[in-house]
């Protein structure tokens, strides 16, 4: 038994050492989070007093003391790194942050709301100047905003809109939302469909979507509103691709099986577009066109004649810029909506330009 215990200890130590080495070459300080998480409960209240006491009279936005240090600490919470979108956004935050003189820490929640709350609480312990938040899901993210509000840390949200109702219910406030104009993006795609296929063509359309996420729902709504200009176009089926290429591939094959007359697919996320393209290829359906939000670096073809892309790296650096401007005395706009970039057959979105 002693031998087993010794072996187990050695393995544990080795794993910790490996983890420490791994994080050495990145800015993320994941190894610190388990330690701080343990104390995050009661101690989370502590920074509140100091932060609110020192909140400067810059409108209603608190200004933590950390903002006036040599390298203000900027906490960034992102949902995952499996979507290349967030890899690009992380790069935007880190590069622009370093250039603007911030110490940037990016925490990745692996798509788990509770995990993200724990990570944000851990980062709030370290008294950041501001929190840049891309929530995992719209409603649960309000709790994170509330935690930051209580700690006197201003919250700049990016990409995923924190539900206004949830914010109101918890009496939480954000400084700014910056992201793509998702409704306009959906409409841009619909206009492209109408331009390609004709303003009065009879079209049956299938959606590969993610009904749990507000931005994706906005895209669907934008598409539906704009496609309504053609009374002969009809959305006949919607499946949940869960923003995963493998799930989207399966769901798309099933959508096309169930609705053989669908000839246009609207995939409202990049991974869904990729999965839908593979599905159309698998089924050998040359009569089906895939439109949507661009898959990463996927060239546009006859089958895939149009997509719109966000520029997440740009959003990351713009959020840093907004925070810098606020520190310099400007009043941040409550909402900044960035237009999307349209790609058509023959073009290829650059790395990071994804849906």
């Amino acid at each position: 038994m002693r031998r087993v215990t010794t072996m187990a200890s050695l393995v544990t130590v080795a794993a910790l050492a490996l983890a420490a080495c791994g994080s050495g070459d990145e800015d993320t300080t994941e190894e610190e989070s388990p330690a701080t998480e343990e104390t995050s409960g009661p101690a989370a209240e502590e920074p509140t007093d100091t932060a609110t006491q020192e909140a400067a009279g810059d409108g209603s936005i608190p200004r933590p003391a950390a903002c006036d240090g040599d390298t203000p600490y900027l906490a960034v919470a992102l949902p995952n790194l499996t979507n290349p979108y967030y890899v690009a956004m992380q790069r935007g935050f880190e590069e622009a942050g370093a250039a603007a003189g911030f110490e940037v820490e990016v925490q990745i929640a692996d798509d788990d709301d509770a995990n993200q709350l724990a990570q944000v609480q851990a980062m709030l312990q370290k008294e950041p100047c501001a929190l840049a938040l891309n929530g995992v899901k719209s409603e649960p993210a309000a709790a994170l905003v509330k935690a930051a509000n209580d700690a006197g840390v201003p919250v700049f949200t990016v990409n995923v809109i924190v539900s206004p109702e949830a914010l109101q219910a918890q009496d939480a406030t954000i400084v700014q939302y910056l992201g793509a104009d998702n409704t306009a993006g959906g409409a841009q795609v619909a206009e492209q469909v109408l331009a390609d296929l004709g303003a009065d063509a009879a079209i049956q359309i299938g959606f590969i979507t993610e009904p749990d996420e507000v931005p994706v729902v906005l895209r669907d709504e934008g598409f539906k509103e704009a496609i309504a200009a053609n009374p002969n176009a009809e959305v006949v089926a919607e499946v949940d691709g869960n923003v995963q290429p493998d799930v989207s591939l399966q769901a798309t094959t099933e959508l096309l099986q169930g609705n053989p007359d669908v000839t246009v697919l609207f995939a409202s996320t990049g991974p869904a577009t990729f999965g839908a393209l593979q599905a159309v290829e698998t089924l050998g359906r040359t009569d089906v066109k895939v439109y949507g939000f661009c898959a990463s670096e996927e060239p546009l073809t006859e089958v895939y004649p149009g997509c719109v892309a966000q520029e997440p790296e740009d959003y990351g650096s713009r959020v840093v810029e907004q925070i810098s401007n606020w520190l310099a005395g400007e009043t941040p706009e409550p909402e900044i909506l960035r237009p999307l970039k349209l790609f058509v057959t023959g073009e290829t979105p650059a790395p990071g330009q994804v849906g």
Partner: protein, 362 residues
């Protein structure tokens, strides 16, 4: 040797499957078509592979939670190896070796370190989920070797290649389980480990083998997903695959407590789950309702099947001239551990009684 079995173990699950298929085809004319059957089997192939491997582990009374992550790990390893310029069959072999090795590690930890399988495989679940993220920096790896498409997109006689692979694997694994001494040992270890050790079964070898088979099956799942998307994707297999594969085996009559179950049963369970999840998208059930419907069908299927088992078991006992207890398993003269069917542990505990064993897995 006489066979005193009234009907095959799998009849109950087949009945549920037929019922579900009939109901689904009433809802949509596009469900019961040949092309949808292809799609259904194709989309269920990965879960079927995981269920086949899981069956071996469950038969010994263990559980393997690492298979979903193993899919991601092996899929990414295959893509990375191909990126270095190696031919795809070699890359596939490397991925299979990696997946099987993870299984061997599971088996060694379970047997020699004597940790619960749940904990061991939960830990390696985390390890295997991290490895592809670390290797790729969490981005996707595109596969450029078009030859690799044959694994996920090829066809043999109208059947998609992944489906062919599932059937070939199912036949081979059934042979192992039914016709070899190793198969008898696997049932024996799950039925009563101490008794089988005393009977001379090599527990260590058997335990390591079943986890290795599970790892092997997961690696084939990884190859299929990577080939279907032609991208090594570090969060592949992180969705419902693990849960569905365990559910498939259990719905197919494999006991979570070891010693009972068969490969055809697990395969039918996987087909049932594939049918339900395919059918719901084909007929257009709102995605919010889908997990609820799947949950209820699994529950209903297992309940029906358990009911059927209890009936036939009482009859079997009556035939043997013993008193048939109302609640068979737990009160039967066979060693405990299981509910619903006492025959397999009896067979396992006393491998010298071939009649009893045949009754269960014959």
């Amino acid at each position: 040797m006489t066979r005193v079995r009234r009907m095959p173990e799998e009849v109950g699950i087949v009945a549920v499957l037929v019922l579900v298929a009939v109901v689904l085809s009433l809802f949509s004319p596009n469900f019961a078509t040949l092309s949808n059957l292809q799609i259904l089997l194709l989309n269920g192939a990965v879960i079927a592979f995981l269920a086949l491997g899981q069956t071996f582990v469950l038969l010994t009374g263990g559980i393997d939670l690492s298979t979903g992550s193993n899919v991601a790990m092996t899929g990414v390893i295959a893509a990375v190896v191909m990126q270095t310029g190696l031919a795809w069959p070699l890359a596939a072999l490397v991925a299979i070796a990696a997946g099987s090795t993870l299984g061997v590690i599971n088996g060694v930890l379970v047997h020699y370190v004597r940790l619960p399988a749940f904990i061991v495989t939960f830990s390696t679940f985390g390890v295997a989920a991290s490895i592809p993220q670390i290797i790729t920096g969490a981005s996707s790896i595109t596969v450029t070797d078009r030859g690799f498409e044959v694994v996920g997109r090829g066809e043999v006689l109208l059947l998609p290649m992944p489906v062919v692979l599932v059937f070939v694997a199912a036949i081979l694994l059934t042979v192992v389980l039914r016709l070899t001494a190793t198969g008898v040992h696997i049932y024996a270890v799950g039925g009563n480990q101490e008794a089988s050790r005393l009977a001379g079964v090599n527990i260590a070898r058997t335990t390591v083998l079943v986890y290795a088979i599970s790892g092997f099956c997961a690696s084939i799942g990884g190859l299929i997903i990577t080939s279907r998307l032609m991208v090594g994707y570090p969060s592949a297999g992180s969705g419902n695959e693990l849960f569905f594969s365990i559910a498939a085996a259990v719905v197919g009559g494999v006991s979570l407590f070891g010693g009972i179950g068969s490969i055809p049963g697990a395969l039918l369970g996987a087909i049932l789950i594939a049918t339900v999840s395919n059918g719901m998208n084909v007929i257009g059930v709102d995605s919010y309702w889908q997990p609820l419907v799947i949950g209820l069908i699994i529950l209903g299927g297992v309940t029906l099947d358990t009911y059927r088992r209890r009936l036939s078991l009482s009859e079997a006992f009556a035939r043997l001239g013993r008193a048939a207890p109302d609640h068979a398993g737990a009160q039967s003269p066979a060693p405990p551990q299981t509910s619903g069917d006492g025959a397999a542990p009896a067979a396992a505990g006393a491998p010298s009684d071939p009649t009893m064993r045949k009754e269960v897995n014959g």
